[in-house]
Amino acid sequence: MDASALKADAADALIGCPSGLSVAAPATSGVDPSAFVRANDDGVDALELLVQGARCAGCIRKIEGAMLALPGVRDARLNLSTGRLRVTWTRGRIEPRAITDAVANAGYAATAFDPAEGQKQIDEEGRRLLRALAVAAFASMNVMMFSVPIWTGDQDMGGSTRTMMHWWSAIVAVPAALYAGQPFFRSAFAALRRGRTNMDVPISLAVVLTLGMSLFETATGRHHAYFDSVCMLLFLLLVGRYLDHRLREKARTAARDLLAMQATTAVRIAEDGVARAVAAKSLRTGDTISLAAGDRVPVDSVILDGVSEFDCAMLTGETLPVPARVGDTVHAGAINLTRPLTLRVTAPVESSLVAQLARLIEIGEQGRARFVRIADKAVALYVPVVHSLAAATFLGWTFGPQILARFGITGMAEIGVHGALMNAVAVLIITCPCALGLAVPAVQVVATGRLFKRGVLVKSGDALERLAQIDTVVLDKTGTLTLGKPHLATALDADLLRTAAALARCSRHPLSRALVEAAGPGKPAQSPQEFPGEGVAGEIDGVHARLGRRAFSAPDAPESDDDAAELWFAHGDAAPVRMSFVDELRPDAKAVIQALQQRGLAVEVLSGDRTVAVAEAARAAGVTRWVADTRPAEKVAHLETLRAAGRKVFMVGDGLNDAAALAAAHASASPGTAVEVSQAASDIVFTGAHLAPLVDAIDTARAAQKRITENLAFSALYNAIAVPIAALGYVTPLIAALAMAGSSLMVTVNALRLQGMRSWTS
């Protein structure tokens, strides 16, 4: 795209998505991505960024236009599906920082990709499956061109014409089946070499045996060749395989993106005083780093210089900012609120709090890997049964007539070894798990697609299976049950609110921001001065004013008896005013909890916040069981206790302190506002200010489980009818083709029924 094509207009003046499809990212400066730039040989540098919030054509134009407007940029391409922006530029013409700044100025959050994590963009395995699928589709359609005449006109058709049709079928089907069957052959071979069997063993066996049989039939000029069945079988199986792969790939990509987003950078101050951006994981104990206001602490450190306040809500669940001065220790993950600081690193990244949490997550996920998917259970049952049925058919037809004759029973047709093999192969073909292979992925694709439209991202298919089994819901308080940010609770008259907000505009403190939010747009105060941990002072309409803690703004005012977060505002000689703030419940919290309880689920609140705050929130939301003051490891321990009592827990949380518990739970969810680690650790991410998506997700998961069970039951019924017919030798190529297509169609249509399900919210 040419830069001149991107003319500026009114839409570009807006921050963020011009169509309003997503909220603009908060105005922070971009991170320094220097550590992640890849240098190519020909003097061109390349950088890959993960851009959040791009939704429409306007976003593409805005972001790519902003990139191309930078000097030296050669090419910029935003992939809207994956959110990845690739920029290349002539080395030395611009600083990498200018790129992230430009994206941030346009109103989008951009994170640099760690090249090690971000590589392998093209999904090779998916492409291999698609190629095989295309070949199988081509073959099954074209072989039908020869099969249908044989089925319909066999009586009128001469033997030589039929054989010619069979040969044409063979020319198309044999190479196609050998190519399209490779995903199955490889997997079957790998399983056999390890002395195991899987679903691919009977599939491969059926394909190879049927091809061989059909070639023999063709060469000897006989009636029954199953080339069409082989191709259709592979086609239907590959459809199921591809759907399943796409679901897993989506989960993997989501996990990889979140991992890459943790590739944080830090500004290290070298001994010569030069500040340079480095990857956080290259920091060593004793390094000096500088931390801008609004940035997250990269590793556990101690403050060398400066005074500020930290937002530790993500770490501990506490809503109130924590003041910090020289000598205080700050933990990785806390956000610096007011002033720039100089820090000394006290622990290497591997032993920082965040890394320890990451290890707890790993342990939790190992436990989850023991979960056996319903499809795998079905296969474990299926393989031995089918193999022994086919073997029994072969042996029965080979030796059956003689054995029966010895007991004086005649009448069983002598069909010889050839006929016996033919019937055994028919059993293998007709039981081949097309319907079984589609039964689970088709349902899960429809279910995740349906939830995606409602703002719920399900990261894997087995997450839905686990979610359908839960009987207990454990919710975090801060940021999950509540919105996670303070909200003005005192009723003030409009004039007072306006003046107080003028001063609040000069501060980044969360309480100030809550005040500004309540007041709406307006002018800031004059000559403001911020005192970290105390408050902010300035002039409004020429009169001195102070906004902050009681000791700062109104030292003479009496202490209030409740312990809510508060701000005091003093304006000239007027009496100081107290404003209290509460962390509001999500608007539908109470209704959702009721809905969960109606579904027979036990609901608990598990929080790291103070007892009083948790009790109050739990009461307001209608939850009777709650635990307060828990540390991350205690949250995990609590879940372990529940698990030991035989409960299957669905954990919902958003903070760093929830991440380990999210990974340890049977199923888990986090809101889109959660920290990346928590999103990475949970199965489901839901967006928006409401909790209703949780109910939707549970309902959909349960419905999906029902569809899956129906599909598997249908497959079993189908086999129960088809196997005797095949074993007795009544199956012709036409019957095999019809049965295969019919059963696959049935399970797909049954899966699609989920689409029309009514959602709880509507």
């Binding site: 935003l78 809207l80 359609m141 014409t161």
Partner: protein
């Protein structure tokens, strides 16, 4: 019946052409950004100076 000696290869090669087209599009990264492609059609690239007649 001689006609099928022409028609069968003709039908097969038509099918093979479709298959080849699909494989080409897959290799040419045509499916890498389905959502973006749907939106890019709305971008005005035609504010470029018109070619001189």
């Amino acid at each position: 019946m001689d006609i099928i000696a022409y028609l069968i290869p003709a039908a097969l090669s038509l099918g093979a052409m479709g298959l080849a087209a699909f494989l080409w599009s897959l290799r040419a990264n045509q499916y890498e950004d389905l959502e973006g492609a749907a939106h890019r059609i709305l971008l005005d690239d035609d504010d470029l100076p018109p070619p001189r007649a």
